[in-house]
C-alpha cells in the first residue's frame, strides 16, 4: 500500500498567482487600491467595494497566532506529525490564513495566542503550501 500523501491544493485561474508566488517561496496577496486594504481568499474584485482595481503584491509573511486547534486524529499524510496544530494566522496586512504551525511543540504552553509567526513553505504534491513558525518579535510590532 502506498504511503498516504498530504492533500495538495489545485489552483484556479483566480488563485494561480498565489500559488505561483508560493512556488518561488514568496507570499503574495491581493490589495484593493481604492480601499488600500489587502483581502483573502483571492478573487478578481475587492469584496468590500467591488472595485476591480486590485493588484497582487508581496506581503511581509509575518503575522500572529490568532487561534488554533491541535488535531489528534491525523488526516492522510499527516500521520507522523500528529498531534499537529491547525491555526488561523492573522497577517500583519490584515487577512487571516489557515496554516499549520511548525518548528514548535504541539502543546498549548508552546502555542500562545498572539505570539509572532513567520511564513515558511512545505511541498505537498508539488505545490508549496504556506506554514508558519515562531518568530522573534519585530521592532515596533504591536
Amino acid at each position: 500500500m502506498a504511503t498516504p500523501t498530504k492533500p495538495s491544493p489545485k489552483a484556479t485561474p483566480e488563485t494561480q498567482p498565489f500559488w505561483d508566488a508560493t512556488a518561488r517561496g514568496e507570499l503574495h496577496l491581493q490589495r484593493c487600491r481604492p480601499c488600500d486594504a489587502h483581502y483573502f481568499p483571492p478573487r478578481p474584485f475587492c469584496p468590500t467595494c467591488h472595485s476591480q482595481d486590485v493588484a497582487w503584491e508581496p506581503v511581509s509573511g509575518r503575522g500572529r497566532l490568532h487561534t488554533y486547534v491541535i488535531n489528534h486524529r491525523p488526516a492522510p499524510g499527516f500521520e507522523e506529525e500528529a498531534p499537529y496544530p491547525i491555526a488561523l494566522v492573522e497577517l500583519e496586512e490584515g487577512p487571516r490564513l489557515m496554516a499549520n504551525i511548525v518548528e514548535a511543540p504541539a502543546e498549548p504552553d508552546a502555542l500562545v495566542l498572539d505570539m509572532p509567526l513567520e511564513v515558511t513553505f512545505e511541498d505537498q504534491g508539488g505545490m508549496q503550501v504556506p506554514k508558519f513558525r515562531p518568530a522573534e518579535p519585530q521592532e515596533g510590532a504591536r
Binding site: K6, P7, K10, T15, T67, I70, R73, Y84, L97, M98
Partner: protein, 382 residues
C-alpha cells in the same frame, strides 16, 4: 414583515435512530415522511409542497409518489430545515401550495447512498483549508474556541459543563444514545479529538431522520387533528462564509446573530419571552456562542450560565432538552431534531417535558457557522 400564521401539523422521526445498515439515505427520508403523514393522518396526495436537503427533493418526491407544486432544495447544511420551515411559511402564505412536507434522512454513520459534498481540491476550502490536515468538522468548527476563551475568560471547565448539562437532559430521555450522567472530569478524561475539544465535547454520529408537515393556522384549526397545532411565530435565515477561516469574528456567529434577530422581530418577542430553547450543538461551544449571539446572556457570560445549571433540568432556561447532538442523536444535519424537540415540548409530549412551555426557539447552524436558521414556535398563534 408580517405574514399569515403557519402551523406544524405533523412531526415524526424515523422508526429507529442509531446504526441503521439496512436503510439507504433515501429510505430514511421516506420512512420519516411516511411516519409524519401517519402522525397527521394525511395521505401523500394531501401534500403539494416538498422540501429537503442533501438528497434531491425531486428524488424524494418521486420515491414517495408525491407530485408537488412547490419544491425547495435549499441545502445550507444542518440548518436547512429551519430555512425550509421559513420558505414553506412564505409559500403557503403566498398560495404557492397548501401543505408542505419537509423531510430529513441521512445515513451519517453507515454512509449508505449519501449525497455528495463539495470540498474538491480546486474549491476555495480545498485550496486554503484542506491542505492543512483538517479532518472534518472537529478540526474546523472549534477553530475559534481558544480565541473565545482568551477574550472572555471562559474556562475549559465551563466548556465541559455544556456536555454535563446536556447529559442531564439525556438521562431523562429513553431515546437518547448516551444516558449516563457525566462530570467535568469525565469530559476531561475522554480522548482529545482536537484540542481544546475532548470526545465528549463533540457530537455523536448516527443514522436517523425526522419530518414535519405544515399548513396554515386557519386550516389547522378547522382540521380534526390528533395533536394541537404548533404555530410558527417567526423565522429568520442568514449566512456568513463557507470557510470557518474567513469568519469575520471567530468568537461569535454572525449567522446566529442575524437569523435570530429576524426571527425574534417577526415573532415580536425578546429572549425573556422564550420558555424553551434548542441550539444546534455539533460541539460544546455552540450553545455558548448561541446563548450570547441570540441575546439570552451577555458577552462572555454563557459558560458560567451553563456551569451554574441555568440550562439544566430545573433551570430557568431549559436548553437542548432531548440531550442534543452531544447525547441524543446527530445524523450530520441535526437541525431537524432540534425542531422535533421544540414541537414535542409545545405539544407537551417530550420525554423530559418542561412545564408551561408557550414559546420555543430552535436555532440551527449549517456548515461551520456557514449558515444560521432560527424558528420561533408557540402554542398560541400570533
Amino acid at each position: 414583515m408580517t405574514m399569515p400564521s403557519t402551523a406544524i401539523i405533523g412531526a415524526a422521526e424515523t422508526d429507529e435512530l442509531g446504526t441503521l445498515p439496512d436503510r439507504s439515505e433515501l429510505q430514511l427520508h421516506a420512512e420519516a415522511a411516511r411516519n409524519t403523514l401517519e402522525d397527521a393522518k394525511l395521505a401523500p396526495a394531501d401534500i403539494d409542497g416538498i422540501a429537503c436537503a442533501g438528497q434531491s427533493p425531486i428524488a424524494v418526491a418521486h420515491y414517495l409518489g408525491i407530485e408537488p407544486a412547490w419544491i425547495d432544495g435549499t441545502g445550507v447544511g444542518g440548518a436547512s430545515f429551519m430555512f425550509h420551515v421559513r420558505h414553506a411559511a412564505g409559500a403557503i402564505a403566498a398560495g404557492l401550495c397548501s401543505t408542505v412536507l419537509i423531510t430529513h434522512g441521512q445515513s451519517g454513520r453507515s454512509r449508505l447512498g449519501p449525497a455528495g459534498g463539495g470540498r474538491g481540491r480546486d474549491s476555495l476550502p480545498g485550496q486554503f483549508e484542506t491542505p492543512h490536515g483538517i479532518v472534518g468538522p472537529p478540526t474546523l468548527f472549534p477553530m475559534g474556541v481558544l480565541r473565545y476563551m482568551k477574550e472572555t475568560g471562559t474556562t475549559h471547565e465551563q466548556l465541559a459543563s455544556v456536555a454535563v448539562a446536556q447529559r442531564r437532559w439525556a438521562a431523562r430521555n429513553p431515546r437518547a444514545k448516551y444516558r449516563d450522567e457525566i462530570t467535568v472530569d469525565d469530559v476531561f478524561a475522554s480522548p482529545m479529538i482536537a484540542y481544546p475539544m475532548h470526545k465528549l465535547e463533540c457530537c455523536l454520529v448516527t443514522d436517523g431522520g425526522g419530518a414535519l408537515i405544515l399548513t396554515s393556522s386557519d386550516r389547522a384549526e378547522e382540521m380534526d387533528l390528533p395533536h394541537p397545532p404548533v404555530h410558527l411565530l417567526g423565522a429568520g435565515e442568514a449566512m456568513e462564509t463557507p470557510m470557518v477561516s474567513q469568519m469575520e469574528d471567530v468568537t461569535s456567529s454572525k449567522a446566529f446573530r442575524r437569523s435570530s434577530a429576524a426571527a425574534f422581530a417577526q415573532a415580536g418577542i425578546t429572549p425573556d419571552d422564550v420558555d424553551h430553547l434548542m441550539i444546534y450543538d455539533a460541539f460544546a461551544h455552540l450553545p455558548i456562542y448561541g446563548l450570547e449571539d441570540l441575546g439570552f446572556v451577555g458577552r462572555g457570560e454563557a459558560g458560567a450560565f451553563i456551569e451554574e445549571g441555568h440550562t439544566s433540568p430545573g433551570g430557568r432556561l431549559p436548553l437542548n432538552t432531548n440531550g442534543g447532538g452531544l447525547s441524543y442523536t446527530h445524523t450530520g444535519m441535526y437541525g431537524m431534531f432540534a425542531l422535533q424537540e421544540s414541537v414535542r415540548q409545545l405539544r407537551g409530549t417530550a420525554p423530559a417535558q418542561v412545564d408551561g412551555v408557550e414559546i420555543s426557539v430552535a436555532q440551527g447552524v449549517g456548515g461551520m457557522f456557514m449558515s444560521g436558521g432560527t424558528v420561533v414556535l408557540g402554542r398560541e398563534r400570533r
